[in-house]
């Protein structure tokens, strides 16, 4: 899913060790399911290979990996693009939407504008479903309804989140 982008986004705040990235990831995006260390380091390895992060020299100490990772301009560009693009309007998107909102707030981006864009994207898909319901078979209509109910749930979440953006921003910046 968005693990590489979430880690990149966390790195855009400041250069960090893998351990700190894992801790922050688990705090904000893990929701009870911790990211395994192995996945953190393999993801960072791939990001380094692709030129999106650089790994500093190993520092003396315990632990498996004492490298400090820093984001590159290429990595920053990818975060920027990812945060300003709406997610395609499909059901079951909550985690991606949430990740984008939290990262946008962390990095001082315009999270409200992102949510507006996401709402417009969802509503466009709702219009397509409405069209299918008007012209399609009963089976098409019922499937469209299923999709619409899920998009409606996302849209409600978008509204509620937008209304609480200030409080969420405080929370994200405090910690």
């Amino acid at each position: 899913m968005s693990v590489p982008l979430a880690l990149l986004g966390l790195l855009e705040r400041e250069p960090s060790h893998g351990y700190d990235l894992k801790r922050d990831y688990d705090t904000y995006f893990g929701r009870g399911k911790a990211l395994p260390f192995g996945q953190v380091y393999s993801t960072l390895g791939r990001l380094a290979r692709d030129g999106k992060v650089t790994a500093g020299m190993s520092e003396p100490g315990d632990g498996p990996d004492r490298k400090r990772y820093a984001i590159t301009p290429l990595g920053q560009q990818q975060v920027e693009e990812w945060l300003s693009e709406p997610v395609a309007a499909e059901p079951y998107l909550q985690t991606v939407l949430f990740t984008k909102v939290v990262l946008a707030l962390m990095l001082g981006r315009d999270a409200a504008a992102y949510l507006d864009l996401q709402r417009a994207t969802h509503l466009r898909r709702m219009r397509e479903f409405t069209q299918i319901k008007r012209t399609g078979s009963l089976a098409d209509a019922l499937l469209a309804d299923h999709g619409m109910f899920h998009l409606e749930a996302d849209l409600r979440w978008i509204d509620v989140t937008q209304a609480r953006l200030g409080a969420l921003a405080d929370m994200v910046r405090e910690s």
């Binding site: 507006d116 709402r119 417009a120 709702m126 219009r127 619409m148 998009l151 409606e152 849209l155 509204d159």
Partner: protein
């Protein structure tokens, strides 16, 4: 552009309900107005329809300035060029369905026989042909809204203003009402501006604008691509 609002502001006492809101609506367009409760949607709709005058800013309708028109001319324009559907309470409960729909025609001095014939035609189009003799106090919510739509369209308005027209209906009935409203508006070429919280209702529109803190956040979004 059939309706255009420029930098509209309107307050109630200390509450600034609209702050320099802009909006432009093309003729024949179906526009949904969304946004949080208390953001100013109804106030905006009332200003566009000439029911309220804004404290500042301009409202244009078909090349004419609405907000500076005399009350008499504005009232006349509202009666003939605009139709209205609200959440509830617009029908006269003691009158029959046919009376309610014929009423705007009778007030416009159309002859009785013709008024009732035209009303019957509209009731037919809304699937209410059987109910002409029923008192509107005895209708279901969905039926009452269909009568309200017939009454709003009977004079052939250029613009139909609707504020939460399905707000009191369950979602299936609401969808049916919207389908009729939008279907008839498209057949007649009527512009529709509908305020709604409901994404399913908004999905019937060509585009949506969002009102937040008294401003339209995306007044022209999606317009050029039509």
């Amino acid at each position: 552009m059939i309706i255009e609002a420029r930098r509209l502001s309107r307050s109630y006492g200390n509450t600034l309900a609209l702050r320099e809101a802009d909006l432009a609506v093309e003729a024949g367009e179906i526009l949904a107005v969304m946004g949080p409760s208390g953001s100013g949607k109804s106030t905006l709709l009332h200003c566009l329809a000439g029911i309220f005058t804004p404290d500042s800013g301009e409202v244009w309708f078909g090349g004419r300035r609405l907000d500076t028109m005399s009350d008499a001319r504005r009232t006349k324009l509202r009666r003939t060029a605009f139709g209205f559907v609200f959440q509830f309470g617009q029908l006269v409960p003691e009158l029959t369905v046919a009376d309610n729909v014929a009423l705007p025609l009778l007030l416009g001095r159309v002859r009785r026989k013709e008024a009732y014939a035209r009303a019957a035609g509209w009731l037919e189009r809304l699937g209410l042909g059987e109910l002409g003799g029923r008192r509107t106090g005895q209708l279901s919510g969905g039926q009452a809204q269909r009568v309200a739509i017939a009454r709003a369209l009977v004079l052939g308005p250029r613009v139909l203003f609707a504020d939460e027209p399905t707000g009191a209906l369950d979602s299936l009935t609401g969808e049916h009402v919207m389908e009729l409203l939008v279907g008839l508006a498209r057949e007649e070429g009527t512009t529709v501006i509908v305020v709604t919280h409901d994404a399913r209702v908004a999905a019937f529109a060509d585009r949506e604008v969002i009102v937040r803190d008294g401003q339209v956040t995306n007044p022209f979004a999606g317009q050029a691509v039509r």
